[in-house]
């Protein structure tokens, strides 16, 4: 049973607009969440994380929001750029458990 779910396999946005990627989790005991980005033929790279004691963490164009009551987190990318086109995974430790990923395409 997947502990982390990304229900949108793909997302397409226009350059300069906002991209919102969503992730749901099942276990309310999870206390740390991470987002990774993956380009084809490369391993995933860490993007941003958030602790459960926060509801928002921002790093440049990337912001992650955490809604603990809904067991939901989202990654916002503003403004989106063509170079952001990749597969995005949310993940939770321990281990790490990953969602199925969302393929983001940013059109010029």
């Amino acid at each position: 049973d997947q502990q982390v779910k990304q229900n949108s396999p793909s997302l397409s946005v226009q350059e300069g607009r906002i991209s919102i990627l969503n992730c749901d989790y099942t276990n309310s005991m999870f206390d740390y969440f991470l987002w990774y980005k993956k380009y084809p033929a490369e391993g995933p790279t860490f993007l941003i994380s958030i602790s459960s004691i926060k509801d928002k963490n921002e790093d440049g164009r990337f912001t992650v929001f955490l809604n603990k009551s809904a067991k939901h987190l989202s990654l916002h990318i503003v403004p989106s750029q063509p170079g952001d086109s990749a597969v995005y995974f949310c993940a939770v430790p321990p281990g790490m458990r990953f969602g199925a990923g969302t393929r983001l395409t940013v059109k010029p």
Partner: protein, 112 residues
């Protein structure tokens, strides 16, 4: 700068063969992990290790084993490869449990 290397980028093996996938990290990380990535399923954890000679089963350990004889090296072994083990295999390491992981480039394994 963390570097995680995997022994092969592409590998083709036959059903029933014993397959070794090697992973080496150069940052003295305690923790190492093996995943497989399949379309629509994301990354699934096969095995991980929090220390030398230690191993823990992940979510899909069946058909696999691992070896961690040295801190920097974590090997994934397919005792008798099967076609359903055709996949992209990714190795990762991290400094601490729950901290960000650094991934290798992956090995695309095809079992015929």
């Amino acid at each position: 700068d963390v570097k995680v290397t995997q022994s092969s980028r592409y590998l083709v093996k036959r059903t029933g063969e014993k397959v070794f996938l090697e992973c080496v990290q150069d940052m003295d990380h305690e923790n190492m992990f093996w995943y497989r990535q399949d379309p629509g399923l994301g990354l699934r954890l096969i095995y991980f290790s929090y220390d030398v000679k230690m191993k823990e089963k992940g979510d899909i350990p069946e058909g696999y084993s691992v070896s961690r004889e040295k801190k920097e090296r974590f090997s994934l072994i397919l005792e008798s490869a099967s076609t359903n083990q055709t996949s992209m295999y990714l190795c990762a390491s991290s400094l601490g449990r729950g901290l960000e992981q650094f991934f290798g480039p992956g090995t695309r394994l095809t079992v015929l």
